[in-house]
Symmetry: C2
Subunit: 328 residues, 2 copies
Amino acid sequence: MNGNLKIQDNTIGIVGLGLMGSSIIASLLALGHPVKAIAPIHGEKEIGYKRILEQLHLCEKFDILQAPVEEYLSLLTVSSEYNDLEDCHLVVECIVENLAIKETVFKKIAEVTSKRTILASNTSAIPISILQKAVPDPQRFIGIHWAEPAFATRFLEIICGKETDEETTAAVCKLALSWGKEPTVLRRDIRGFITNRLMYAVYREILHLVEKGDTSFADADKCFRYDAGSWMTLMGIFRRMDYEGLKDYYTAYSNIFPLLSNSDGISLQMQKIVDAHSRGIQNGKGFYSYTRQEAMQWSQAFSAFNKDIFHLAANYPERISETSNGTK
Amino acid sequence: MNGNLKIQDNTIGIVGLGLMGSSIIASLLALGHPVKAIAPIHGEKEIGYKRILEQLHLCEKFDILQAPVEEYLSLLTVSSEYNDLEDCHLVVECIVENLAIKETVFKKIAEVTSKRTILASNTSAIPISILQKAVPDPQRFIGIHWAEPAFATRFLEIICGKETDEETTAAVCKLALSWGKEPTVLRRDIRGFITNRLMYAVYREILHLVEKGDTSFADADKCFRYDAGSWMTLMGIFRRMDYEGLKDYYTAYSNIFPLLSNSDGISLQMQKIVDAHSRGIQNGKGFYSYTRQEAMQWSQAFSAFNKDIFHLAANYPERISETSNGTK
């Protein structure tokens, strides 16, 4: 399968080779982008390189490579020299969630890049409107938020800061579409962005219901796996309402919105779980308990499921009426 | 493939041959249960029979039948005689969501069945605690809420009324497990049950965000399809938190719960859509617009997706650590 690798014109810079940085780099390499990676932390270069290689092998396993892994790797340079970012079309920062450190990094990036380079942060914790103040041209600054594993998720949130201009937003949307993503644009950098914020609304309500004794954690999980899970990937939220018929929803809203939890606080049960230093599968303690083997099985299952749902979703594209794939 | 049909000992009665009733009947036949169907409405018998046949042919297409459709059909009797329910282990009411009519029907069912027969309603609108007052033995009365298509969804909500006893709940759970369902038990019949209620929390928040201009209906759909959709069927809600690591969630809760919408009312945009007599794909007007062909394509896609996600979910069972299926 040599020689099938189509190399993209745009070089992309990634600063930070942590979990997300490495995952994003691998996904961009898999798409044929030359990538200039900057590893600001000592020792990060080697660990990051290993992670990127692992992700590329996963890409191979997912059947999304057209050439051997080595050819993709040859598109990558890793250094600690910010000057290497000079010719990048886009530079994405993926470092630790610390405002002061990010500001320093963005000042360095802004110094070495041209005014045409798009500057982006993968942050999910610091508002873009604040971050973009660190650079002299905030209009070319934007948030681009990947989900992991970056190569296998169609989800990509694009977050506009107060000063981000329309040209930058449009350019990033165009790039995202060329990557096979289904980008969602957030016009204001609200906390939690969209999906996470909507899931917080779910957490608030379910913690309240479990606290009242109406149901259990395990039963709530089953509900979402087998009910919401049975249409989510196909339809999302509003399409689902269209499909079910809007009238009933309207009545149900009026009846149920006033009953929902408006709590600001965390339920006692959740507090207890956190107080017990539960870190989920990482230390085997969470809403469920895990042996080391079970934790590993969940990781393997998640990887396998990612592949399955990635390929399944490909059969049901967003623009269903423009294709015949969704009607097999 | 003759002779492979294993017939269950328990006969189940279904009252009402509407969309849900027919779907439930087909799923029970596909599981090998003899079914006594009561069609109280004139003309329902013929339409219901046709629907059941259609659903059984879908079961065949989904590769879940062990014998020809005709053999399954032979397990079904349809009549308007409540006396036929006499020997049923369980009778499920699936008629119109009208309290007075349901009360009359349950009185008739209670008269002809033994005290050991479990009485159930598929209602999603009327509290079980109210319905169960219609019968002399409310402890054997319970809610069983299927999702459509009943044969292809593992989701099943079991709703206890105030007077439902533990024996009845346990018996229905056991039945549900024998049907290959992943039942969730609701200890109190709260409005909207679990999944719907949690989705209402999502609707409240997203309608608020769209109203503020932070995002659009279409972008919210993409978020849920490609982010939530990429783990929902595998993990549900709490398992997902365990997987991601609980500490970050805790901090995020504290920050974001106070920002969430606490609105009782419906957003202006939603109000406008409803005022325009939008009924979604049924009349081509909703959050999106649909030609007749597009509406048909969505129906076909939903049916195909049901099959795909049904088989996909089978590879990732609830009790992942007890199997090797989830770790392929």
